[in-house]
Amino acid sequence: MLSRRALYPEIEPYRTGMLQVSGLHNLYYEESGNPHGKPVVFLHGGPGSGTDPRQRCFFDPEAYRIVLFDQRGCGRSTPNAELRENTTWDLVADIERLRAHLLIERWQVFGGSWGSTLALAYAQTHPRRVTELVLRGIFLLRRSELLWFYQDGASALFPDAWERFLAPIPAAERSDLMRAYHRRLTSDDEAVQREAARAWSVWEAATSFLLQREDHIAHAATDDFSLAFSRIEAHYFVHRGFLEREQQLLENVGRLRQIPGVIVQGRYDVVCPLHSAWQLHRAWPEADLQIIPDAGHSAFEPGILEALVAATDRFADR
């Protein structure tokens, strides 16, 4: 039996930079690990959550050239929480701009939750640029998935957290919670924005780990995090991820089936239920689906991070 893997030690980037991707947007990016190593790009979730230094630790720093960047409007990218010129296809083009800027020919793409959505969209658009896909907490950005999390689904398992999510929205507007939140998150009144941002962000934080983590919920409640996160998420979700068709990411799996892939999914992921990973697995049977029996949504659930590190280790010398 393989020994259980943990995250690699925390490291500092050897290079950080800002890349101008449009007249409006400047993206923060960083490189860590081995400058001559195998390149990998980390796609964070949300959209709007930004990167975290601990995300470098999914990769062996001796083997990988680890590239993290903050997507438009979040993390250290500027302008913060900006919704203009901010769509899935802008982000796909940004990934290509960053790759060209870093003179990387092809790279591994690693992403969970919204990061899996973006990874699939990128790999279906630029399949030849992707050496492997490591995906977690699959989210195909379909109406059914959004309704599960923001209207009726996860609420059945978390009625306590759900009450707090409903609280800022008057009963008359609860038949379409995503729109009700979007109105508040794009309101001219900053206090209204903040209250909605906190509740939106806390709902996801309260449901992301198998066993609730107070530190994670407290962080999600801060204005610094919640405003960009919830504004950008709601913007993407009311626009259905800017996809042309509901099943687009599933229908276009044929474009990436030749790419080696690993899908890691928590059995008790109530944010992005296993159903979507299962459908992706059926459309893309070559990918290795690993169901973690005692895990929720987060990449930092013990069983999930072990499986993710094992996947990047397996691909390290390819």
Binding site: W148, G153, S155, A156, L157, F158, P159, D160, L210, L211, Q212, R267, Y268, D269, V270, P273, L274, H275, W278, Q279, I291, P293, D294
Partner: protein, 329 residues
């Protein structure tokens, strides 16, 4: 309202029953003819002079198990287990005739009178919680306390969650196996399609459907699937009664006058001290069910077990149940 979270212990003891009382044998076994057709098995264990408690098993059709005695302190409780109509050691086996919620409610009364008990505690999980609430609402003066787990009030929404829109999202693999027994054309109404097979004249059709029906529930009952409990599903004596009786109750929507009946009639049981224990990851009966019942019974205590599923025998749920009966002893 009191809702609290039980202690979170990520790495529990290996023996899930470690938090319960030791295994004991009954001091009295009996049978009670409840009508011309049905004959029920019952047993008493613990202290013959102790506080009486009746255990209502799940399903319906699940039958009792000797482990069920272990939720109660045997020095303080007179513990009564019985097998509901058609299951366990009750006879006739797997019979659906004269088998309704209200027959079972009256059976509980007959058994109470037969045992010369004036009032008793009522303990039940899953379908046992449905029957416990139905009994308490029918005979509130006979119930000293209610200890309920894995709440199921038999509303349309709850039935739809488990046999339609909800559980399958987290267990698409088990769901695929569950629906595979039914041809696609009949999947629009799975419960009726299963009912046809479970009541078929062909014993092989019945057996195949009974196994698949039981597997679906067993595979999703514990937080982390327990392979040993799946072997239960190879026991036709268990699965046939369980699946036939359960499906019969679902086809008939629990024999309720209307789907909100049990929740609305909670006005009759406000005074009964009640503890509700529910696993956060109960995907058969989601926590929402307990939340709604707790709202209707504002004086009840709701204990949410963070690492619990539906089963009564996971460590966190088992301990919370034993602590509840200890408080009431």
């Amino acid at each position: 309202m009191v809702a609290r979270t039980a202690h979170s212990v990520p790495h529990r003891a290996a023996d899930p029953l470690a938090g319960l009382y030791p295994a004991i044998e009954p001091y009295h076994l009996g049978r009670l003819g409840v009508d011309a057709r049905h004959d029920l098995y019952f047993e008493e264990s613990g202290n013959p002079a102790g506080k009486p408690v009746v255990f209502l098993h799940g399903g319906p059709g699940g039958g009792t198990d000797p482990k069920h005695r272990r939720f109660f302190d045997p020095r303080h409780y007179r513990i009564i287990l019985f097998d509901q109509r058609g299951c366990g050691q009750s006879e006739p086996f797997a019979s659906l005739e004269d088998n309704t919620t209200w027959h079972l409610v009256d059976d509980i009364e007959r058994l109470r009178e037969h045992l010369g008990i004036d009032r008793w505690q009522v303990f039940g999980g899953s379908w046992g919680s449905t029957l416990g609430v139905a009994y308490a609402e029918a005979y509130p003066e006979r119930v000293t306390e209610l200890v309920l787990r894995g709440i199921f009030m038999f509303t349309e929404r709850e039935a739809q969650w488990f046999y339609g829109r909800g559980t399958r999202m987290l267990f698409p693999d088990a769901w695929d196996a569950f629906v595979s027994v039914i041809p696609e054309a009949e999947r629009g109404d799975l419960i009726s399609a299963y009912y046809d097979r479970l009541t078929s004249d062909n014993p092989r059709t019945r057996a195949e459907a009974a196994r698949a029906w039981s597997m679906w529930e067993t595979r999703v009952a514990s937080l982390v699937a327990d392979e040993a409990s799946l072997s239960h599903c190879d026991d036709l004596d268990f699965t046939l009664a369980f699946a036939r009786i359960e499906c019969h109750y679902f086809v008939n929507k629990g024999f309720l006058a209307h789907e909100q009946q049990l929740l609305e009639d909670t006005v009759k049981i406000q005074h009964i001290p009640t503890t509700i224990v529910h696993g956060r990851y109960d995907v058969i009966c989601p926590l929402e069910n307990a939340w709604d019942l707790h709202r209707k019974l504002p004086r009840s205590e709701l204990i949410i077990v963070p690492d619990g599923g539906h089963s009564a025998f996971e460590p966190g749920v088992a301990s919370a149940l034993r602590e509840a009966t200890d408080r009431f002893r």
